[in-house]
């Protein structure tokens, strides 16, 4: 072999290879991406940047989103007629005043004068009507709009393609809009704070129907300056925001990267959440992190759903047996190191209507066996195959679920099989009510018991995945819907909750507490119980 010849060949090949790859990727880069502004100069600006760890939103189209992560971004970028304050009160956002008719059916919103899209265009009543109709359009095929807006008269018709517009929404003039709902519902206003009711710019969407979410034009306190897919999202404050200009000018969400707490310790991010691996260290008063540690509750109830239409959970005694056979307290204390409190009911503490006297079945293996023997199946051997579905595709199943399955085995002698599924087929199966038992959580969208009790347990609700049906409960929930006296309303809900807990369509497992650390320089950082716009309240203090 001629070595020179070989060398030349090798070099040529390598160069060509490298050249092809670089050339191709460069070409793709140039053709695929719009020219990006040189963001180098950000660093030279005097204003400092709030740095947060985030994950990529599934979508920034508020009418499509149904997950908490996307909603967090959306709540900063967009706005609707109403919003929820950090004190969890409903406040007017785009609307300046609101008149509700005597019968509680007609809501007349008068819009503010100083409301603008990020582009500078003034928001009118037509924009609001257009946004509602977009959320309802069959072409958009939104998963969430019916849940939150179906109370509006004509919304369902439009959603199923039976009407071309929503009859219950009328534009009175440029700055007045009227919404009519089907029955007087105290919680309707709260529903309007959900992203499905956010206002979008029809000019932008019609001009760029496919890609507008990359730099959406909203009315919120922040606007997207740059979104580098999987790398970072940079938000810039909206200097003409009608509810008060935010303190922090620039917020950077880092979408990639490893352990957030390590990045926090290295000064790369300002807020980090604590996991079970770190809680011991953070709680140690000698640790630096301990002084920065905070916790707050979030309105979330995790539960094990038991499908009443599927054997063996068609028998209430089997459900009671399963609920009494697991030691949730032990799991929260040992596996989660006490970071998530055990759920004792359906409504989380701190919620409007929470009643601490409502108690779920407590751990009692003997009672559990007794319940099982009292059921129509009589004993563990007679039970059909039980499959527990859980979201996840990892090499390891959820730790807590594996612990419960073991406890059912030792305390009841029942073999439960775990089936891990992907989120998409899990939710499809959940809707079709195909699964026997499963673990999932419900994050409240607005602070009203209706959002969980009525939505999840009314026999006619589309969200009632467990096929739970109890006429008395239905009756109480319906009474609560139209009750105007809030004390009485609460009583109805508490009565309903007590009955639901007794029937065990859910085994509530945990309420949620957020454990986090906040850097010294970040002040007024909020971790509210539900998702609300929060960035504009925070401020950065430079040393």
């Amino acid at each position: 072999m001629n070595s020179k010849k070989f060398f030349a060949l090798l070099l040529t090949i390598l160069t060509v290879l490298v050249g092809i790859v670089f050339g191709l990727t460069l070409l793709l880069r140039i053709t695929n991406q719009q020219p990006v502004e040189n963001i180098q100069n950000i660093g030279s600006e005097p204003a400092s940047i709030l740095k947060l760890a985030g994950s990529e939103p599934n979508t920034l189209d508020p009418h499509l989103m149904g997950d908490a992560n996307s909603a967090q971004y959306a709540s900063e970028i967009y706005g609707g007629l109403v919003t929820i304050t950090p004190a969890l009160e409903i406040n007017l956002d785009l609307a300046e005043s609101l008149d509700i008719s005597e019968d509680g059916l007609v809501y007349r919103f008068k819009l503010r004068e100083n409301i603008f899209f990020h582009s500078g265009r003034k928001v009118t009543a037509d924009d609001i009507k257009w946004s509602f109709e977009r959320a309802a359009s069959p072409e958009l095929n939104s998963n969430t709009s019916l849940t939150y807006l179906a109370d509006i008269i004509g919304f369902k018709e439009k959603r199923f393609g039976l009407a071309s517009s929503i009859s219950g929404i009328t534009v009175i003039d440029k700055s007045t809009i009227e919404i009519t709902i089907d029955s007087p519902k105290a919680y309707f206003l709260a529903k309007l704070s959900y992203p499905t009711a956010f206002v979008l710019d029809y000019q932008q969407i019609e001009a760029n129907p496919r890609n507008w979410t990359r730099k959406p034009n909203g009315t919120g306190p922040y606007k997207i300056k740059e979104w580098r897919l999987s790398e970072k999202i940079i938000l810039e404050s909206n200097s003409s925001y009608h509810l008060g200009v935010p303190n922090i000018q620039m917020v950077e969400y880092q979408l990639s990267g490893g352990s957030v707490l390590t990045r926090f310790e290295n000064g790369e991010v300002d807020v980090a959440y604590i996991s079970t691996s770190d809680i011991d260290r953070v709680l140690d008063p000698n640790e630096k992190l301990n002084k920065l540690y905070k916790q707050s509750t979030s309105f979330t109830t995790s539960y094990i759903g038991l499908n009443i239409n599927q054997a063996p959970f068609d028998d209430v005694n089997v459900r009671k047996a399963f609920a009494s056979a697991i030691d949730i307290k032990k799991v929260t204390d040992l596996t989660f190191k006490g970071m998530t409190p055990q759920a004792t009911g359906i409504l989380p503490p701190g919620m409007f209507g929470y009643d601490s006297s409502i108690k779920t079945y407590s751990f009692n293996p003997e009672k559990a066996r007794e319940y099982l023997s009292r059921s129509k199946y009589g004993s563990a051997e007679n039970l059909p195959t039980i499959v527990f579905s859980d979201i996840g595709a990892g090499a390891e199943g959820s730790t807590d679920i594996q612990a419960y399955v073991e406890q059912w085995k030792t305390n009841l002698g029942v073999n439960v099989n775990i089936r891990q599924t992907d989120a998409a087929s899990f939710f499809a199966d959940l809707d079709l009510k195909k699964m026997q038992m499963y673990s999932i959580g419900w994050i409240l969208d607005y602070p009203d018991p209706e959002n969980i009790l009525d939505l999840k347990f009314h026999s006619q609700s589309a969200e009632n995945n467990e096929n739970y049906s109890n006429f008395e409960v239905d009756d109480l929930l319906e009474k609560a819907r139209i009750e105007t006296d809030s004390l009485k309303r609460v009583e109805y809900y508490q009565e309903a909750e007590r009955m639901i807990v007794r029937d065990v369509p859910w085994i509530p497992t945990y309420f949620s507490v957020t454990h986090y650390v906040v850097s010294d320089r970040l002040k007024n950082w909020l971790e509210p119980s539900i998702i609300i716009p929060r960035l504009r309240f925070a401020s950065l203090q430079e040393k």
């Binding site: 691996s277 596996t335 090499a395 390891e396 730790t399 775990i418 891990q420």
Partner: protein, 327 residues
């Protein structure tokens, strides 16, 4: 990257099979003597034998069951009760390691039998003996598999396949006399055997085919044919015994690649399903940065055994290749 190197090893064999000379085809003694001389190779063999026997006898040796939980004692470091500590659910890590070896053993054994031995031999025999179009088709399919990126593709195909397998096993549970098919986790094993076999038959098929092609020209086969022996008889009485040793050695050199693939597939969540024990699952559970910082034994324990096993497989593979390639 270990896994890469093993597959490289494997592929290396592919390109070199043609070089194995038939003269040593039946000479087991020659191979064995050469192998004995490879000290490192023998040490590796002993390591593998010891670990595999530990896997076989896991139910007897293991102090606990691999599913037995003890939440009060979760995440403990090594102690007298738990020699290698406990995991998040308080399961004994030592017992889980033993059962993970068992999983590795089952997967390597099953894939070698189903893929390399049965599928590979059968296809190699057909291709070599029939020749012509049959040969071309089989060997070209082999080329397809040899030129594909095995592991990434396995992950993707398994990901697409596993929900379907899942549904099938639930169907089996509810519609046939078998009741605990889903719980046994057999379905996930079957998926792995099937997927890995698809990629592992090529090298043995190529070897068998090339040997048959050259054997056909050998005197004793000619003689057998001239006295009117049937094709089948020629293959089973003369051809196969002649190459079986070679085949066993060739296959053993790919053990590491198969074991590594199982670990990777499980790590990605498309392999053995929980609660079955597997090194892939153990490594996954211990690999978070913060987890490693606080509970290093979760990663270090499986890491030690996996590295040792891979080390042994690599060196044994090298030694076997050396022995085979010497002519």
């Amino acid at each position: 990257m270990t896994f890469l190197d093993d597959s490289k090893n494997n592929k290396h064999v592919d390109t070199l099979e043609e070089n194995y000379k038939i003269s040593t085809g039946g000479n087991w003694n020659v191979f064995f003597k050469r192998l004995i001389k490879k000290k490192l190779g023998m040490i590796s063999l002993i390591i593998i034998i010891v670990m595999y026997s530990a896997g076989i006898f896991a139910p007897i040796i293991a102090p606990y069951s691999y599913t037995e939980q003890n939440l009060e004692r979760s995440l403990e470091g090594p102690s007298q009760d738990h020699w290698l500590g406990t995991d998040r659910l308080g399961r004994d890590m030592y017992s889980r390691v033993l059962y993970s070896i068992r999983t590795t053993l089952i997967v390597t054994f099953a894939v070698i039998v189903s893929g390399s031995l049965i599928l590979g031999t059968a296809l190699g025999l057909i291709a070599g003996y029939r020749g012509g179009t049959t040969d071309t088709i089989i060997m070209r399919i082999g080329d397809v598999f040899a030129s594909l990126p095995g592991l990434p593709l396995l992950i993707l195909v398994n990901a697409a396949l596993s929900p379907k397998i899942d549904q099938i096993s639930i169907w089996i549970d509810s519609n046939t006399f078998i009741n605990d098919f889903q719980a046994s986790g057999a379905a996930s094993y079957i998926t792995i055997f099937f997927a890995l076999s698809l990629f592992s038959w090529v090298s043995s098929a190529r070897l068998i085919r090339s040997q048959i092609l050259s054997l056909r020209e050998k005197d004793f086969i000619m003689a057998a044919r001239s006295i009117g022996m049937k094709q089948k008889r020629i293959i089973f009485r003369h051809l196969l015994p002649n190459i079986s040793n070679l085949l066993i050695l060739l296959i053993s050199s790919s053990l590491g690649a198969i074991a590594g693939s199982e670990i990777v597939l499980t790590w990605f969540g498309v392999g053995v399903q929980p609660p079955a024990a597997s090194f892939g699952q153990m490594l996954y559970a211990g690999s978070g940065t913060r987890t490693f910082q606080t509970y290093p034994h979760l990663l270090l324990v499986p890491a030690f055994f996996v590295t040792l096993l891979m080390f042994a497989f690599n060196i044994l593979g090298d030694a076997l290749n050396d022995v085979l390639r010497r002519d």
